[in-house]
């Protein structure tokens, strides 16, 4: 094996694979970090996965990790593994742009809790990942991240850079955010695992907010097991986050590898009929049969209140965002992208009575899902109804019909932001255009371990994680 091939292998290893080698001192954190920084420096100009590279920080952290491990102070499975953060997550002394021209050079004076926890676990920060402006507008001040399976197709968002970097072997794991599907949608189209745990499970302190009651901090990884490892390192109560949960943190990997025979899964009716792309139907149908083969008992059910998700999402997210961006909206609207402005305009006009009613109906939704999950272990559905659309647009095609991504999303992903349930998207197959298509598994509040167990069992049948065709690899020779 050449040096270049070895470095490439290091970049595409899962966290679980890599951590075994690091723990056994078969590879060093410096070697891993060098390989990753080299790959990022070669390809970021074409892939746009990162807004800011943190090479100096990464090298220093890698040397520290190497010394600690060499002296018997191994911290755990993230020690010496590279990570990135969506660039709306605060990093002390490192620019945090939110991909906006409003405050493009903001340098926070404190780390977000999620980054502080990852640093404590020994992870190595290689960069701040690209995103949609403030996590809700495609009109970013930066070029869009590029889908590594088909550059002409969207990489989705808003955690676009995290999804692309993970899938393209430009980081081992990334932290994104998810308010209506912003972590799961890019996982879906780029071929990664995107997992938002229960609302409040992972701290949002230091994450620039979009919507207080819908925001989640999300794991973006190449495998389900890696998702459990990232969640283990970041979950837990945080007094800096007012809505942080005090529920005990279990061992999220404990049930991974257990079979799913006899488990009861609810198949979301409506997601397999009209208004869904034929390729998605095909991949999801095959996934359902696979899960049946694994022993799961699957019943079709009607998800409660699913038809109201778009209205409830709009009535909640837009007013909360408009309050957060109140001053910028009035004093510097020219610095905001067109979509951001449209959403803030609408959010400013939603009557308070409408907002309050939406929150009361969300309570009804949670009651109805609680009843449903008394009878089922989890809910399965496609991740989204459509194939990824043309890069840089909000539109996509479902069987020849042009569809606005923003109106098609809430019924699939946003429903679990409204309820706060854990939901995971993982690769299920490919479209006829060669882009990944994911399936989604949602579970009971604070029962992430069951979601991970089902996802892992399915993942073992798919051959993922796979390597995408882009970026094209060349030589990989340089020294740290």
């Amino acid at each position: 094996m050449t040096t270049a091939e070895h470095e490439l292998d290091l970049c595409f290893m899962t966290i679980a694979e890599l951590s075994t080698l690091i723990r056994n001192r078969e590879v060093s954190p410096v070697e891993v970090t060098t390989a990753m920084l080299n790959r990022i420096s070669r390809h970021n100009d074409t892939m746009h996965a990162y807004i800011t590279l943190t090479g100096d920080t990464a090298k220093e952290q890698a040397r520290t990790a190497e010394h600690e491990i060499a002296t018997g102070n191994y911290r755990g499975p993230l020690h010496g593994v590279t990570i990135s953060l969506k660039d709306n997550i605060a990093t002390r002394g490192i620019r945090t742009s939110c991909a906006s021209m409003v405050a493009p050079n903001w340098v926070p004076d404190a780390d977000a809790t999620v980054y502080a926890k990852l640093r404590e676990a020994g992870a190595i920060l290689v960069g701040k990942a690209n995103l949609f402006e403030y996590a809700f507008s495609m009109n970013s001040a930066y070029p869009n991240a590029v889908n590594p399976w088909n550059p002409e197709r969207t990489s989705s968002g808003s955690s676009s850079g995290s999804g692309v970097a993970v899938a393209a072997g430009m980081v081992h794991g990334s932290i994104g955010t998810d308010t209506g599907g912003s972590g799961r949608a890019p996982a879906n189209v780029n071929g990664a695992v995107g997992f938002k745990a229960t609302y409040g499970r992972v701290s949002r302190a230091g994450v620039f907010p979009l919507s207080y009651t819908l925001d989640h901090t999300t794991m973006m990884t190449r495998s389900v097991r890696d998702s459990a490892l990232m969640l283990q390192a970041t979950a837990g109560h945080d007094p800096r986050d007012e809505n942080s949960s005090r529920v005990d943190v279990p061992d999220f990997s404990a049930r991974i590898g257990q079979d799913i025979s006899g488990m009861r899964l609810a198949l979301a009716r409506g997601y397999t009929h009209e208004g869904i792309d034929g390729d998605v139907v095909g991949v999801f149908g095959a996934a359902v049969e696979t899960l049946r083969t694994l022993g799961a008992q699957i019943d079709e059910v009607q998800l409660p209140y699913v038809q109201h998700c778009a209205a409830l999402q709009l009535a909640t997210m837009n007013p909360e965002a408009a309050e957060i961006h109140h001053d910028t909206h009035r004093n510097a609207p020219d610095k905001l992208g067109e979509t951001a402005l449209m959403r803030l305009d609408l959010g400013s006009l939603v009557p308070a009575t409408t907002y309050v009613r939406a929150q009361r109906i969300r309570k009804l939704m949670r009651d109805a899902f609680r009843d449903l999950l008394d009878r089922y272990d989890a809910i399965i559905s496609p991740a989204l109804a459509m194939r990824p659309g043309v890069a840089g647009t909000w539109t996509t095609i479902i069987d020849g019909k042009e569809v606005d991504l923003r109106s098609a999303g809430p019924e699939y992903t946003g429903i679990y932001n409204l309820t706060g349930m854990p939901a995971l998207v993982l690769p299920g197959g490919f479209s006829s255009e060669g882009t990944p298509i994911g399936i989604q598994i949602a579970g009971r509040w604070f029962d992430e371990a069951t979601v991970l167990r089902i996802a892992h069992a399915f993942e073992q049948t798919t051959g993922w994680p796979k390597r995408p065709p882009y970026p094209k690899d060349d030589s990989a020779n340089s020294q740290m």
């Binding site: 209205a311 449209m342 009361r360 109906i361």
Partner: protein
């Protein structure tokens, strides 16, 4: 304005100005359309009886959300 009445351009202008927002014409046209779409979409939600539930989403604690 009743929730079931889609707002017109003048209503939207008045609502925006009441909040200190003054839009150029093109932006106002877009907003009037999107707001009307939203009001129509939310009209179905107004038909749901929320029972005795209070709007606790912002402050929901661990017991409420699990």
């Amino acid at each position: 304005m009743l929730p079931t009445e889609p707002p017109d351009r003048y209503t939207v202008t008045a609502m925006a100005r009441a909040q200190g927002l003054d839009f150029p014409a093109e932006r106002l046209t877009t907003l009037a359309r999107t707001f009307a779409d939203f009001v129509a979409k939310f009209d179905d939600v107004w038909q749901i009886d929320p029972g005795e539930h209070e709007p606790t989403a912002i402050t929901f604690d661990d017991e409420a959300r699990s």
